[in-house]
Symmetry: D2
Subunit: 298 residues, 4 copies
């Protein structure tokens, strides 16, 4: 029912005319489904699932190299790592900025893995796009419209995270901004929504995975690390996400979670990540998908 409709039929309905506004993102706007391809071969939306992994924040060249080497060996095909960190407190670690972008590019090239990183400022889109293979729009910026316009005009694929309490409608309309701007390579990322319960960091809305499969031609992936916020619970949610049909995963992996500058409690270490990837492969097969090929030792 409409917001406010207990009293009258108001014009203020959240999302009024919204379904009609899904011109470009709706499922039937295209013949098939969108498959987003990154340099290095990672794909989202096809038969192969994308495995994006790496630390929350880029802390040093050594830390990133250790993470990149490990996750690529385990079969990840996209390296994640924050250069510009959106932090609730101004006194928290804010990221290394362009230095981190260069480290990401170096590691991507060294290990033959694509790179995704967040851009927060419309003025940084150009520099981030120069170094990264995919631009991430974070949860706090899902409705940062100047940023959406700038990223919509960029030539690099986009990972659009769901806002922390965004409805599916709002999320799809944020994607509509990107497509309308000319950028058709958009991947949606569910990362948990805010809940009344503090038992976990956020609440993974697993139901949006099959729901979005019906609503849109865009691929959807899941970030179980931010969703639950407790490393030991991440593997179960990663398995569940693939079983539900997710086109990829975004997982925080840190070589030394106990000493991470951010998000340590939700980061897997490299061995835990390797174990998880091995367990994901047969689940993917059951839903007609496959994981990226593991690199050959040698």
């Amino acid at each position: 029912m409409k917001r406010g409709s207990l009293v009258e039929a108001p014009e203020v309905e959240r999302g009024v005319n919204v379904p009609q506004s899904y011109r470009l993102v709706r499922r039937d706007a295209r013949a098939g489904r969108t498959v987003v391809r990154l340099a290095g071969g990672a794909t989202f939306g096809g038969d192969e699932i994308a495995i994006c992994a790496g630390p929350c924040g880029v802390e040093s060249a050594e830390q990133l190299d250790a993470a990149a080497r490990a996750v690529s060996r385990s079969g990840a095909n996209v390296l994640r790592g924050g250069a510009y960190k959106p932090r609730t407190s101004p006194y928290s670690f804010q990221g290394l900025g362009e230095d981190a972008l260069k480290m990401l590019r170096d590691c991507g090239d060294r290990y033959g893995i694509a790179v995704v990183t967040e851009v927060m400022d419309p003025r940084d889109v150009e520099v981030v796009a120069r170094h990264a293979d995919m631009l991430q729009i974070g949860t706090r910026n899902m409705q940062n419209f100047p940023l959406l316009r700038e990223v919509g005009a960029a030539s690099k694929p986009v990972l659009l995270k769901r806002g922390i309490s965004a409805t599916v409608q709002e999320w799809l309309l944020a994607a509509e901004y990107l497509l309308l701007g000319g950028n058709e390579n958009v991947v949606l990322c569910e990362r948990g929504v805010r809940s009344f319960d503090v038992a976990t960091r956020n609440l993974l809305d697993i139901g949006v995975v099959p729901l979005l499969e019906e609503l849109t031609h865009l691929p959807v992936i899941v970030d179980p690390s931010h969703a639950v916020g407790i490393a030991r619970l991440v593997p179960a949610l990663a398995m569940a996400s693939v079983a539900a049909g997710a086109h990829g995963l975004l997982i925080e992996v840190h070589p030394d979670p106990r000493n991470a500058l951010s998000d340590g409690a939700q980061s897997l270490d490299c061995d835990q990540f390797d174990d998880l990837v091995r367990r994901l492969a047969p689940i993917a097969a059951l839903v007609g998908r496959r994981l990226p090929a593991r690199p050959q030792p040698g």
Copy 2:
């Protein structure tokens, strides 16, 4: 942080002293994990997953028989069906009461399948326990303490659904009431929580499956039908739940969903349910579990 603690350290914290109050339900209160066994052989908490299926409400002997025959053939080992229906509106179908209890018992005996049904009134516990193999406490009654006390004193196992916006703490303390009353055969059932988004009926909190595995020795199952409210999305969530480690599923199945008196839009028909069970078996195997044996034709 504590409720209200921005100002001071108040005594009013939601859940103050709560972890200390988990005396009987906490994981380390027992040597092993609780395995709940029903007449007919269904178990919750062991290697075999329980498959509970049937219509939202018992509408007639014919409807229930058709549902029971179909779900038992497909491998369900618990028949669900509402005799007393908690309905938001007093003008909605309220259930057939004791007549429905007898139909459930008849179908359970006819098809060799256990029976679970909801009890809403402490005065009905005795009659429901006489006919059913398991007593369900519904989402609206999770903190109905007189009912919890009465069911805690009953001799039948209990299915305790999570309240629609209950925290995990509150849910476990509701179970504590049952165990303290002497009933140790308690199964927790996640059925979706209330969300700000109306895209789905509720929001399945899949994260509680691995979380409860750490917190308590009690088994946890998932009801994907109430969680998402849209039949086509139920199979994906059922698969995800088993992949995440759920000890069972509770699924609405109706022989003719379009003409159901309640919850038709979220009910699978018998063929859809049969197809789902076939797809669940290999997922269960991957997490070290198995489905109940399918009855032999003949």
Copy 3:
């Protein structure tokens, strides 16, 4: 919009056909507004605001007498106090039961003030109705339908608290159960809803005060104590509630909040309550209402 309507128009909509189900509670079901009158003269819904005050739980005859004497002197015309306490943990103080009912009756008679107290169990409705002037249905029992039916058949007025995450629709339909049962003396009580923020205990939904004024002929009052959970913030919310048009207040007052067995942090002491009532009178006057007359000393 409808729950699930992003995909199709489902029958499962939360609240389907609900506005049509407001047969008895809707504003235009009666010529005027309902005015609920209690023994001793308290009214809800007319020009005079009801002031209900007293401790969360009845702890002893002495504690209750001290509270009753103080709040009646300050101008409260309804004494509140819990005899049967719904507690999240089975190890918390559960109330004194029928002994407390008698103490409430004694204090009501001694100070010429009506008595409201919660009934949780349908089997207790008769005994509570024998002692109290008004039956309270608590937040956890708003959709306890057997209790609603029993209270609907009782001869005493009802205070129906909103469920902790109940929609306005669900709340009004719970009231519909009461009116359909024959009990027309129903007062709605907003007491805060569950929120994502733990800064306060609950979140007072002040907007329902004017909203319900449009939707129903039943009076609505506010419980600022449970809403915010911090005693120092209670007066501001009480003032706001009267300014918004509430027909009454329900306020926790304890002679010695620091030693209360429950809800001490949100209870005013007797002096704070007296001060609040003095400040409320001119606010009431500005919205065309008045407070109950203060008893004459001597």
Copy 4:
């Protein structure tokens, strides 16, 4: 309790170390309370309440002039109006941009009233600051950190709206970014949070008014229009806000709400606004405040 603390004491707690991070915004960081003064004499945080009013969006010079003339006559001392509109759908009216800024400046000068308008893009801070007397950071941008930094370095006072599901902690830390950037003239604006109930547009968290009075030296105002989304309910919430201690109001007023390009259903017309201001004055007096002086006719 901490997020995730049911399992362990994680580092991931939402808001860990946060109270220690309130260095500049906390109540005791200053001797007195902050009073923010705008050109033209409007103040926030002192004895006089600020009345900010005007249309959601600037639609034309004529529309804005009619609104400005009316609200200033009624006693508003700040004109609001959107030049850059953050809209959920890219197909909705997006605002007139710099042309609107000039119209706002013209109207402000013509009627002797300060001007507040939203800035969404860090690149627009300079141009907005050139025309407006106060920069509004909207609900979707409360955690847009590049924007916070840019506005923190600007010379104009700031109106910081609460994010649609921001905790009080997150909101205060967003203000901390502004103060840390050197801008001490920050006003907090509660505008309703997202709720599970669709009965009203948002849910006004009136409890934050007295809560923030304890936590911070910054003034807090209320936007009842966005909070409730239904024009007829706005006056009751405006009265409640002043009774609860708000230092100002932000109210949508449109000369012709039925033909507004945005937010028509929640906008008062000019007569309704005039009536509301008259009713607010005595409420303000009761809490020791006063409204801005009405201009003398002539």
